[in-house]
Symmetry: C2
């Protein structure tokens, strides 16, 4: 039995897609939402897409207590508010996997441009805001939420994982790679999120032009040794 995987913002497109894919891969998931009612609705929708899912729906702070590795999949506009609300819920030793992208859409700007975050990246802002002893790993920025949430699509792309401790990243990589078609690539320390978070606006721009749901693949890595 693997541990439940809480997803804060699990009613949003990225969070729900992640929950659905993980549930279909046999992982227990916990959908967190600001409202217990919306969490419950997302659980019902998920149960239709993944009939054998082990899933529960809770308000975010309760969801965050359910497992050691917590995913945060909220818009940048809501990231700081969510992290404030989780201060009493997160405990030392937990990992927070931040997927936040600081697109300018947060302030009515273009989703093809980003905002400068004083700390360097949304992930580094998250690391500053979580309680002492909680470690942030950044991942999942480049996976199309539409693609992820469509159970009929076969994924075939990479997830770039940034974090300061290799062992932490490896735990996140294991979860990511339990979803068929996703390969986790070690993209360096947490500060590399400054780069990786920028890939989302680039892909949004490409998607507008190509009518695609683009993702990223790093070429030239050995097929076997995909995690280092």
């Amino acid at each position: 039995m693997s541990e439940p995987i809480p997803i804060i913002g699990g009613t949003g497109a990225l969070g729900w897609g992640l929950a659905m894919r993980l549930a279909r891969a046999g992982r227990p998931v916990v959908i967190g939402s600001r409202s217990a009612e919306r969490a419950g609705e997302a659980v019902e929708r998920l149960a239709r897409a993944a009939p054998d899912a082990q899933v529960e729906g809770l308000v975010n702070a309760e969801a965050a207590r359910r497992g050691p590795i917590v995913f945060l999949t909220v818009p940048f506009r809501a990231q700081a508010e969510n992290l404030n609300n989780l201060r009493d819920a997160l405990e030392p030793g937990q990992l927070l996997v931040d997927a936040t992208v600081p697109t300018a859409a947060a302030v009515s700007g273009k989703a093809t441009r980003t905002l400068g975050v004083w700390q360097g990246s949304a992930a580094q802002q998250a690391q500053e805001m979580v309680p002492d002893g909680v470690t942030v790993v950044a991942a999942l920025h480049t996976v199309s939420a539409q693609e992820l949430g469509d159970p009929n699509t076969q994924l075939d792309e990479d997830v770039l994982v940034c974090g300061d401790r290799k062992a932490d990243k490896a735990r996140v990589a294991e979860i990511v790679e339990s979803i068929p078609g996703l390969r986790a690539v070690n993209a360096g320390p947490l500060e590399a999120a400054r780069i990786v978070e920028q890939l989302t606006p680039l892909l949004i721009s490409i998607n507008a032009r190509y009518k695609s749901r683009a993702g990223i693949r790093i070429t030239g890595l050995g097929a076997e040794d995909h995690w280092r």
Copy 2:
């Protein structure tokens, strides 16, 4: 007969690799260098790797006059100096393809980090510095110079092309795609170079970890309609 393709900084690893690949694809190339002697040596080396090459070696300012689309493949440290030296050589109507990446290595920092460029990117700095009527397109940041310069390697990756006019980018894409294994992807306006230039330090970091010569592939684009 296609027009000669000048490569400023063609004795460097990226420039030479580009020249060699283009020459093997049957394109006439002009290797530019600060010194005519070094240009000549690069031509000799190229003639061994591509026996049928149409190639000449010239000092940069003379090379830049030889064709309508000029590639600039110099280190960031030397970019502004080169553009100053080309002020009298470049003429309205020419395209300058900038491959410069502002890594912190330019100031003895890490190649896995970048410097902030006031204009937003090295390519935008180039656009500011070229004579009026010369247009900058940014490309080739993510292709490993080692990989490009190794004639025994089959390339299999994308080149992200940024520029403000689609027709200009299409001309650059045509040259890029004359090299087997490279696909050009329209990555948006020139300002998107702010993002694309950051991919090089990311790949350098991945290469150090994976002992690879990594590149980038955009997934989810149709195989047929690769240029939009």
